[in-house]
Symmetry: C2
Subunit: 222 residues, 2 copies
Amino acid sequence: MTTRASADSTREIPEATVARLPIYLRALTALAESSIVTCSSEELATAAGVNSAKLRKDLSYLGSYGTRGVGYDVDYLRYQIARQIGVTQDWPVIIVGIGNLGHALANYSGFRSRGFRVVALLDTDPSRQTEVVAGVDVRPFRDMEAIVRQHGVAIGVIATPAAAAQEVADRMVAAGIGSILNFAPTVLSVPPGVDVRKVDLSIELQILAYHEQRKAPQEQSV
Amino acid sequence: MTTRASADSTREIPEATVARLPIYLRALTALAESSIVTCSSEELATAAGVNSAKLRKDLSYLGSYGTRGVGYDVDYLRYQIARQIGVTQDWPVIIVGIGNLGHALANYSGFRSRGFRVVALLDTDPSRQTEVVAGVDVRPFRDMEAIVRQHGVAIGVIATPAAAAQEVADRMVAAGIGSILNFAPTVLSVPPGVDVRKVDLSIELQILAYHEQRKAPQEQSV
């Protein structure tokens, strides 16, 4: 299936590299959208905001070394990374909690374009259950187990208030969901083998603050 | 103000380290909330999801080396990192675009707890301008320049549809905003010296997909 032994998808990739693969994929997608066919490791590293030695090391885990003097084939590298991450396949996803954030997530085009298909929106509030968001019906939370079974859902998104999140996570785990993306501002406890990632929307603001703080004293002296 | 020359805040810190500082801060906050007073570099590295050698190297840029056999003082290290990032000061922030995402961001407790104070919500839609979200009035977009001047706003958040985002960014830059957090699914063009960070809500889902893909073939054989 692969042409190089080192591209074996069972090979262990360091967690920090895994976290950067989506960022490389995003940078490559931007290059492709600008009709760029090949790029050097320096160009890709700049687009992704990492140093090029780290980029080359990360890509070596995928068995991808580029061609000296030519660089990387943008489309092929996109495919390699997407396959490695697993986003060449279709991932059915459910979103629980259809408040403002749930609405925003259901409408978010970046999920669909990366292979994440929202198959159901769930809420406990009966007044929400007549809504259709981004073409998907809002359904009662009690239907979750049946929906997970029907669509083979492996990834659940929690967009509820903090107080409801642990119960939702427990029910997701019991229904067979193995990965949870948690937007609720609380720490979830899950059994071993279940992955939880927590989104902190303030991380990027903090990185901006770091740079902004350093601009201030210099008063345009750049 | 600092006790070690190496903690000089003008010292250049690598961009990748800057990006991890908010993650260390989040991990330290979680430890502090669990009443943990000191932690080893291994414990902190595990909580932050990085390897401990990288953590120690990152913290060395802050002049923070811990104490052999004791580890790091959680509260002091939190303070050091927060100061380095710049979130010990108050950052007035405006949010433009008060649709679902704008509402969710205005209500997001994680901004306020990190020193980001939403001073204004702005929208071009007159029907939104009677709303109050999280205690803040929605005001007409044309008031932005006056609000930026009045509050000394350096950071703007764009939560508009893609088609409106570039115009909003141009107006922000003209008003003197130096850092933009962009949630709109589009690439913004800004002059040199202005920082833009784009939030991609699918990044964390992709990391989950990577792990989920690797669980599937083994069928519970962990």
